[in-house]
């Protein structure tokens, strides 16, 4: 198996004006592992995800994603990352199918894949309705389709189970869950649940690393400390 870690961050910083949104963040994630990121709002979780997704350039330190250095090689990384963020990244006036087909064209993915995902997510019935008519749960399912459309080896998931009922959560599990075999970075506000499905845990506060350990060695109480 390839020994190159999927993610390698060393002393990474990201500035916003005079404030460091990420400050001296270091972590290594082996291929296929799951990293869970905890922290209060404003701690830098979303910033971290966006740096990994090549949407933001690091202002300091080294970033290696899937063996490629960012920002120099961001081109090579772009098609291999799937991002599930707070915004669904879908056009509200287009249908689910039209949205997914659009993304498929951008990622050069055959249309059959769109149909396959719509089937698996049980969306075929509502696939022609404009996205703005879908409930939040359905919307999240479409967003999941969009994130895995191009079969990325790295998944970046910002609170993936928000808005989902248990049935839907079960549906998306094989696509973005641990069983999918992909390397995953998941942000979570649920200490016990987050730790349960992760290999590594990272806690951020004010952009700095406050906690970093294998998930099995972390007590949920330590995670709750971050929020004080």
């Amino acid at each position: 198996m390839d020994a190159t870690p999927a993610i390698e961050l060393r002393g990474v910083g990201r500035r916003y004006g005079e404030r460091w949104a990420l400050d001296d963040v270091s972590v290594t994630v082996p291929a296929g592992a799951t990293l869970v990121v905890f922290g209060p709002n404003g701690a830098g979780k979303s910033t971290l995800l966006r740096v990994l997704a090549t949407l933001l350039r690091p202002h300091g330190g080294d970033v290696h994603v899937l063996g490629e250095a960012l920002p120099e090689r961001e081109w090579a990384v772009r098609g291999k990352v799937g991002l599930l963020a707070h915004e669904a990244l879908l056009y509200r006036d287009l249908s689910a199918r039209e949205n997914l087909r659009f993304h498929a064209r951008l990622h050069k993915v055959p249309e059959a894949r769109v149909e396959e995902l719509l089937e698996r997510m049980r969306l075929a019935g509502r696939a022609e309705d404009p996205v703005r008519t879908l409930s939040r749960g359905l919307l999240q399912r479409v967003a999941v389709c969009r994130a895995v459309l191009h079969d990325p080896p790295l998944l970046l998931l910002d609170e993936p189970r928000a808005n989902l009922d248990p049935a839907a959560a079960e549906l998306i599990e094989p696509l973005i869950g641990r069983a999918s075999g992909r390397t995953r970075v998941v942000t979570s506000h649920d200490p016990a649940g987050g730790l349960a499905e992760a290999d590594l845990a990272l806690g951020l506060r004010d952009g700095q690393v406050a906690l970093r350990a294998p998930a099995g060695e972390v007590d949920p109480a330590q995670v709750e400390e971050l929020y004080r």
């Binding site: 997704a53 090549t54 949407l55 933001l56 350039r57 081109w75 772009r78 098609g79 990352v81 991002l83 963020a85 915004e87 669904a88 990244l89 879908l90 056009y91 509200r92 006036d93 287009l94 039209e98 659009f102 993304h103 064209r105 951008l106 990622h107 050069k108 404009p130 969009r146």
Partner: protein, 223 residues
């Protein structure tokens, strides 16, 4: 499918599904013609005056379209969607400029006809071939400058204020050239020929700004 084609197709689909820009630009043009009638106190115009009324109206109508150009990307996360894809980011510029060109052309079909009916003194038919050329070149200028300024403004706080004050001075040479080109077309004594000097100026403007915008657009999207 090439990325810029995919992006353009998505934009055309969106505009057809929920038309906003084209009807607004069209209505604005028609209303402005009426305002000009009252403002100038004239039933009909010809020559340089006609060229001015038509072109300035189209310019202001274009500003409306330019303001809206990237709104769907900004509000619905389209920027991220494009930035995450393994495509050349300039494809977004090409697609938006092409889309704006098409929308402007659509608007002009009706607006020019309305202008000919409402305000133009001489017959429009002899002017038509020349006018098509002038408007095509002008639309290129509007599309290129519009796409760039729109992308520049969309991520600022005062975006619909920034667009007109930046785009209109930038477009002044294009307006000068197209006004000088259109004036002989609307001459009272019958359409004259196009002064080639001004065709060259307008084409040069399109070329320079087209290349420059293409080179510089990437920097607006990176973070």
């Amino acid at each position: 499918m090439r990325p810029s084609a995919a992006l353009l197709r998505k934009d055309l689909l969106l505009e057809r599904r929920a038309p906003e820009a084209v009807p607004a630009m069209l209505l604005f043009s028609l209303t402005t013609f009426v305002l000009f009638h009252f403002g100038l106190g004239r039933d009909e115009v010809s020559g340089q005056l006609a060229a001015g009324v038509l072109l300035v109206t189209l310019l202001f109508a274009a500003i409306l379209g330019i303001n809206r150009l990237f709104v769907s990307e900004q509000e619905e996360g389209g920027f991220d969607g494009v930035l995450l894809a393994p495509i050349d980011r300039t494809a977004l510029f090409v697609a938006k400029a092409a889309g704006l060109f098409l929308f402007l052309s659509l608007v002009e079909v009706v607006a020019v006809a309305a202008f000919a009916i409402l305000l133009l003194a001489p017959s429009p038919w002899p002017a038509l071939p020349g006018l098509l050329l002038v408007l095509a070149l002008l639309n290129c200028a509007l599309a290129v400058v519009g796409a760039l300024v729109s992308a520049l403004a969309i991520r600022t706080r005062a975006r619909d204020l920034i667009v007109p004050i930046v785009a209109l001075p930038l477009l002044t040479p294009a307006l000068i050239a197209s006004a000088r080109l259109a004036a002989p077309l609307f001459a009272a004594g019958g359409a004259g020929s196009l002064p080639t000097k001004w065709l060259a100026v307008l084409a040069l403007y399109d070329l320079v700004f087209g290349l420059l915008a293409y080179a510089v657009f990437d920097f607006l999207l990176e973070d």
